[in-house]
């Protein structure tokens, strides 16, 4: 896993109906060190998904630079793994084949891919579902597969776009705890987009609050690890930090 740097990122769209340039991202600079976990929060329309789509290379940037491990990137690539809100699993591939899709594209041999599938499915507690199709899984299981599919390709940076926004509250807490356990074990570099303040504070080392296309403030989260909801839900530091971030988001 490698570092990620955004330098003076700007994104403007042309709105053909109003005939105007619309600025989604004004001037965003951000550094994510190797092995760091950064969450980006902000009200809807603040541009957080646009930033992720630019890092992933799905939408072109207007100006500025995106550097992964010092190399400038513009197109999508396997160095930046993406976890989607809509999970985006391939419906016609089994869970195991979804997880090993990246390695298959890299030309990894079949026997080796089977090992990768075993390893990562075990990591997500999904070994029993290897031969099932995504449509046969629950929403929470689909998201778990989405996360390990991105991890199994060993990207430099893991980009997560509100991955737990569409599962129920109980499952979401379990998924957050699982993600935090996986991160503590493997220390991938993560950029996590969310509108859920407590999710951001629970998961991240640092929370970036975004407002109207600009970074409003960065808040460090010095909570001990390993983190779990049982311990943090009544924790005074967690509450104080959540409150601080929430105030920032609401003022944004």
């Amino acid at each position: 896993m490698k570092s990620l740097a955004l330098e003076n990122l700007v994104k403007t769209y042309f709105d053909p109906y109003r005939g105007l340039q619309f600025t989604a991202i004004r001037d965003v600079s951000l550094t994510v060190e190797e092995g760091d976990f950064v969450a980006v929060v902000g009200p809807s329309g603040c541009g957080k998904s646009t930033i992720l789509n630019m890092i992933a290379g799905f939408v072109p940037i207007t100006s500025g630079r995106i550097l992964v491990d010092g190399r400038e990137v513009r197109e999508p690539g396997p160095d930046r793994g993406v976890v989607f809100q809509s999970h985006a699993l391939f419906p016609w591939k089994t869970v195991a084949d979804n997880v090993t899709f990246g390695p298959k594209m890299r030309g990894v041999a079949k026997a080796e891919r089977a090992k990768i599938a075993d390893e990562y499915l075990a990591l997500a507690g999904l070994s029993h579902a290897a031969e099932r199709y995504p449509a046969e899984l629950s929403g929470g299981m689909q998201q778990r597969v989405g996360v390990v599919r991105a991890l199994a390709n060993e990207p430099d940076v893991l980009l997560m776009d509100e991955p737990f926004a569409s599962v129920d509250a109980q499952t979401r807490m379990t998924l957050q705890e699982e993600l935090t356990r996986i991160w503590e074990e493997r220390r991938p570099t993560v950029v996590f987009i969310t509108h859920d303040v407590s999710e951001a504070v629970f998961l991240a080392n640092r929370v970036v609050v975004l407002s109207k296309g600009k970074v409003l403030e960065e808040v460090d989260i010095p909570l001990d690890r390993p983190r779990s909801w049982d311990r943090l839900v009544e924790d005074e530091t967690f509450k104080a930090l959540s409150n601080q971030v929430l105030q920032l988001v609401r003022s944004a």
Partner: protein, 268 residues
């Protein structure tokens, strides 16, 4: 009451063993009604023969070898025409589906020619190619082509953009994305197109055989009209229905189930 339950239970067991039986049972009252009306002789038997006479005629035609020969001719024409139609339609559909400019340009043309039904082409085809195989093949290819092209385009365009993005971020090249994401994603629609196309093609073929034919089921029926044999006409009609039922429910529907439904892309 218990007698009805016994019969019902037996029916459930037997149809589970032979699912084809369940497809035949709904026809029993229909055949009974047909037999009853024919037996009443409201219409002269020359106009409305009963089931027994039709089965006899069918047996004679089979025994003489006419029915198997004609059936083979019709099926061969359908197979050749459908294969040619698919070979053109699927690549064309993929191209139009992927290319926005090609889509804007060709969609109105596709809709225009789709509206000119298969049989509406026959007059001009007869002028151009005469009464022969070329005309019949053209009609089938034409009929199969449009449902397959239009459904393929629809399928390609309905593949979720996130799936392509996911594949890109996992390192897939454009060619790999086409074969691993776009085509599998479009497959349920392509199969639906084939199912429709073959259905339309089968009907178009019979119409073409009636007008053009020198053999085939359509020719058999029209020839029987000249000979005044209503039994043979009805035999032809029954063969058409039974054959399509077999093709659709034993071949096409299982493929559709094995792809789209298992993947959760279509519900039925």
């Amino acid at each position: 009451m218990s007698a009805i339950l016994t019969i019902w239970g037996a029916y459930a067991r037997w149809t589970q063993r032979w699912p084809a039986l369940a497809a035949f049972v709904p026809f029993v009252p229909l055949i009974a009604l047909w037999w009853f009306i024919a037996w009443l002789q409201i219409f002269p038997p020359v106009f409305l023969p009963g089931p027994v006479e039709v089965v006899q005629t069918g047996w004679e035609l089979t025994w003489k070898g006419i029915l198997p020969d004609y059936l083979a001719d019709s099926l061969a024409r359908l197979t050749v025409g459908a294969a040619a139609g698919m070979a053109i339609a699927i690549p064309l559909g993929v191209f139009v589906g992927l290319n926005r400019k090609a889509h804007e340009f060709s969609w109105p043309i596709l809709l225009f020619f789709q509206a000119i039904g298969d049989i509406a082409w026959l007059p001009i085809l007869l002028v151009w190619f005469g009464f022969g195989l070329t005309t019949m093949t053209f009609v089938i290819v034409y009929t199969v082509l449009f449902p397959v092209v239009l459904n393929t385009v629809l399928g390609i365009r309905s593949v979720k953009p996130e799936l392509r993005r996911a594949a890109q971020s996992l390192g897939a090249s454009p060619t790999r994305i086409l074969f691993e994401v776009t085509l599998p994603g479009a497959l349920p629609n392509i199969i639906t197109g084939l199912r429709n196309g073959l259905g339309y093609g089968w009907r178009a073929l019979i119409a073409a055989e009636i007008i053009v034919g020198t053999s085939g089921i359509g020719f058999l029926m029209f020839d029987a009209r000249r000979a005044g044999s209503v039994e043979e006409i009805v035999v032809g009609m029954i063969v058409l229905g039974v054959l399509w039922y077999i093709v659709d429910s034993w071949f096409l529907a299982p493929i559709e189930r094995a792809t789209g439904q298992r993947w959760g892309l279509v519900t039925s």
